[in-house]
C-alpha cells in the first residue's frame, strides 16, 4: 500500500482510467471536480499531492494554485488537453511540478508522481535558499544603515560602529540584523 494521499481533480467524474491506475499502485485518493471550494478542500484533507486531469485549467484554477503555493505548497501534477503556450507558462508560474499534455499513460503514473515529488522538493529547497539569501542581504543593508547612523551621530569609526552594534545585540540576545532595525527605528523617531 502506497502511503501517499492523492487529491484527484477531474472534469469528467465518469472517467476512471487515472483513478484505477492510482488504485493499482496502492495510492489512497479522493476524487472530486474542481470548484470554488478547492482551496478549502485542500486545507481540510491535506493531501500529499494533487493531480489534475482536465481539458484546460481555468484562470481561477491557476490563481488558486498560486495561492496554494504561497500558503502551503504541495506537489501538483497536471494532465491537460491544452498545449497552448500561455497555459503552460501560467502553470509553470503556479509552480506545477509536472505538466503533461494529451496523455494519461496510467502505467507511468507511479513514476510521474515520484518525479513530480522529487522536482517539488528540489524547487522548495531552491526557494528556501533564495529566501535565506534575500534575508541575509536585507540584514546586511540594515546593518550598513545602522552603522552609518552611528558613525554620523556618534562620530564613530566604522569599526567602532560595528562593535557597538554587536555589543548592543549581544546584550539583548538578538541578532545583529534585529539590533540594526532597532537603531534605525530609534533614529527615525528623532527625524
Amino acid at each position: 500500500m502506497n502511503m501517499l494521499n492523492v487529491l484527484l481533480i477531474e472534469n469528467d467524474l465518469d472517467n476512471t482510467l487515472l483513478e484505477n491506475s492510482l488504485k493499482d499502485y496502492g495510492f489512497r485518493y479522493l476524487k472530486s471536480k474542481y470548484s470554488p471550494a478547492f482551496l478549502a478542500l485542500t486545507k481540510e484533507i491535506t493531501p500529499d499531492i494533487i493531480i489534475f486531469n482536465l481539458d484546460t485549467p481555468s484562470k481561477k484554477l491557476l490563481t488558486d494554485l498560486q495561492t496554494l503555493n504561497q500558503q502551503s505548497p504541495i506537489p501538483v501534477i497536471m494532465f491537460a488537453g491544452d498545449s497552448n503556450i500561455d497555459t503552460i507558462n501560467q502553470a509553470i508560474k503556479a509552480e506545477v511540478s509536472a505538466f503533461i499534455v494529451d496523455s494519461v499513460e496510467h502505467n507511468r503514473i507511479n513514476s510521474i508522481i515520484n518525479v513530480a515529488i522529487a522536482r517539488f522538493k528540489h524547487q522548495q529547497s531552491l526557494n528556501n535558499a533564495l529566501e535565506e539569501a534575500r534575508a541575509k542581504l536585507e540584514d546586511r543593508k540594515q546593518i550598513d544603515r545602522a552603522k552609518a547612523i552611528l558613525i554620523k551621530t556618534q562620530n564613530f569609526t566604522e569599526d567602532d560602529a560595528y562593535h557597538t552594534l554587536r555589543k548592543l545585540a549581544m546584550d539583548r540576545n538578538i541578532t545583529l540584523g534585529e539590533m540594526a532595525k532597532n537603531v534605525i527605528a530609534m533614529s527615525e523617531l528623532f527625524k
Partner: protein, 315 residues
Amino acid sequence: MPQLSLKAMKTFIKVTEIWVPDKERTQLEFGSGLYGGLIDFKAASEQQLFAYNEGLPGKAWAAGHPIVLTKFEHSYFKRTAAAKKAGLTCGIAIPVFSGDFLMAVVVFLCGDDEDHAGAIEVWRNNPLSENSLNVMDGYYGTLQHFEAISRQISMPKGQGLAGLAWETGLPVLVNDISKADTFIRASDAQQAGISMGIGIPVSDNPGHSYVMTFLSAKATPLAKRIQIWIPDQHGKQLICQQGYSKNSNDLAEIFETITVNKGVGALGRVWLTGMPVITGNHEPDYNPELDNLSSMLAIPVIKNGRLKAIVSFLF
C-alpha cells in the same frame, strides 16, 4: 539580559493625541496620535473637530490649563462609546500656550487597569498663598489613600516635585521618589508603589501657575522612556539633560548624546515651532510588550514665549 515579563512594560498611557487649531484657528482638528492596537478608537477620533470649550481638548483650551476627566459617561467627552469599547476611562488634556495663543492640546487617555499604580495630577498655585501649590485635580486609579493625602497637601515653591518644577520653570524628573529627600510624599509614594515622578510646568501666565505631575509604578511605567532636553548654555543647541526608563537602555543613551539644532529633526521642529510632535508609529503589528522604542511624543515647555525644555515620552 533577563527576559522582561509580559506585564512589566505595559504603559498606563494607552492613547496619546495632539489636537491643533485648524486653518482659521477657531476649532481644533486632529493633528496626530498614538493608538497602539486601538484601531477602532483611532478611526473614531481622526475625523473629530472640537470647538472652543467643546469636548476635552476644547475645554482645556478654554480653561487655559490642564484638565483631568476621570469619568466619560454623562460628561462633555464626545467619544464616550468608542472610549468604552476601547477600555479607556480617563483623559487628561494639556494645552500648550505661547502667551495667550494656543499652539496645541496634548491629550492622554488611560485605561482603568487593575494593575495600574500611578497618578496624574494638576497642581495650581493657591490664590490665598503666593508660594504654594495645591492639587486642582487628578487621576489616581486605585490609589485612594495616596489621593486623599495628595489633595490635602500644600506644596511650597521649591519643594516636592511640583514645587521644584514651579520654582525652576523646568521639568523635574525623580527616578526613585520613595527615596528622594525632596519629595514630600515619599513615604506615601512608597506605600502606593509609586517609584518615578515627573513634574512639568505647563502654564505660567501672571498669577496663575500650573504644574502637571505624572507618577508611576515600576510595573506600569508612564512610558518606556522619558527624556528632558534643554537648550545648552549658549542657547544654540538642545542637549539631553536626563533620560529615564525602568530598565537601562544603552541604545537610548547613545542617542541622548546627540545635540539638536533648531529646526532639525523632530525635537528641532518642536523648538522651531513651539508645537508638540509625535513621531514613529505602531499600527496593526503594535506589540506593547516589545522592548524596542517605536514612537515618541515631544512636548515643549514654553515660558514667556521661549522654549525652556522639551519633554519626550518614548513608547
